[in-house]
Amino acid sequence: MGLLSILRKLKSTPDQEVRILLLGLDNGGKTTLLKQLASEDISHITPTQGFNIKSVQSQGFKLNVWDIGGQRKIRPYWRNYFENTDVLIYVIDSADRKRFEETGQELAELLDEEKLSGVPVLIFANKQDLLTAAPASEIAEGLNLHTIRDRMWQIQSCSALTGEGIQEGMNWVCKSVNSKKK
């Protein structure tokens, strides 16, 4: 740790905590994204049974990220984690075209949830490293994102595997928290 960062640590107030919920269908890449955020090894990932949680420091925030398993059987439990969510991140496998309809339906249901009303939503169009991935614009259109009027939203193409696009997405997350608090 350098002297400068020690001084900065002494000076600044404790980080503001932000609760982020990571949802999406199974095999979308939520856990890989979570591990990328925490700069952890992503080569041994297994399907998430239950949930994972990690805290990441970013731009003066302490981001508490909850990664909830996406298999159909445990989707009914998602609602147990809605309370006090600051930002929802919804992860889509852009190459899994067969399930675009299913993922759109789940997202629509989430946006109808009372406990998530007004919560900004970031959609990660993940797996852009795959040749068969649909571009973010096509996904946005398919999901009718432009009809969302009751909250801030953003779609960001990314690859959790290579890390591309993740920082841009997280910048938007921090920006949306800032503008919500004002």
């Binding site: 095999n27 080569s43 041994h44 990932i45 297994t46 399907p47 049974q49 239950g50 949930f51 439990y77």
Partner: protein
Amino acid sequence: MFGYIWQYVYTFYLRYWLKWLIRQVTGTCELQRICSGYKAGALRTAKAEYSLQSSKNKVLRGALEAKKSNLEQCVDQIMKEKNVKLQKDPLFKGNLQICLLQITGYRSLYVSVEDLRKEPFSSENPEHETMLLKLWDLLMPSVKLESRVTKQWGDIGFQGDDPKTDFRGMGLLGLINLVFFSENYTKEARQALSHANHPKLGYSYAIVGINLTEMAYSLLKSGALKPHFYNTVQGPPELRHFHQLYCFLAYEFDKFWVAEEPESIMHFNQYREKFHDSVKAHLQEPDVDLTLAVSSH
């Protein structure tokens, strides 16, 4: 801080002179004392491994990297270097050779396991497909799979309609483990599956299995499984020994889960950690033996 300095001084200077002194007095080298003073298994092999690793002699350190076919030659060289006479200590050669087979075998086992893990499950590979269908038949003998892609996979605990995406970071290793358990301990595997399908206390059998493959893999990688293999295999451990260890974890985890009665599957990671800790604690015991206590058939 003082402890750290002491340890440094000890490993770099004192240990060397102490060994020299004992050697002059007893007329035996450290490896001889280890091989005769400790009973065969984790204690002896771990001590021998440490002794070889910290040796200043290239021949001794090199033995840790030796191939199986060169081991006998290595032992001869070590005996020459250390001036050990076969007539005076007739058991030494065989004992050291077993230690070395175990030590180098553990490393090559990791390489073989890693190769299987890195091989992704592929629907285009008929062998992989056959194995997957075999898993179904072993676990659900009375139910026919309606098609290759079907919701039925959920009945043995895969997440979606096609299991191929669930193997992920564990690749083929995850599937091989699942099949091995179901094939060699069919009754136990089906019993675990029936527990897993309990409406309230259940868990997803297949993906929890893949998660336990990850546990076995990480324990192997970190070296934590050394005492278990040194105690239970009198030579180089092989893939089937790794699969056996997986069977132990799968069987014991199921027992643990049923006994703990977790509130819901959402608490999986918390219980997994608890189970993991208890396995790691067992591995600290010198006599550890993680062999599944039921007989395979």
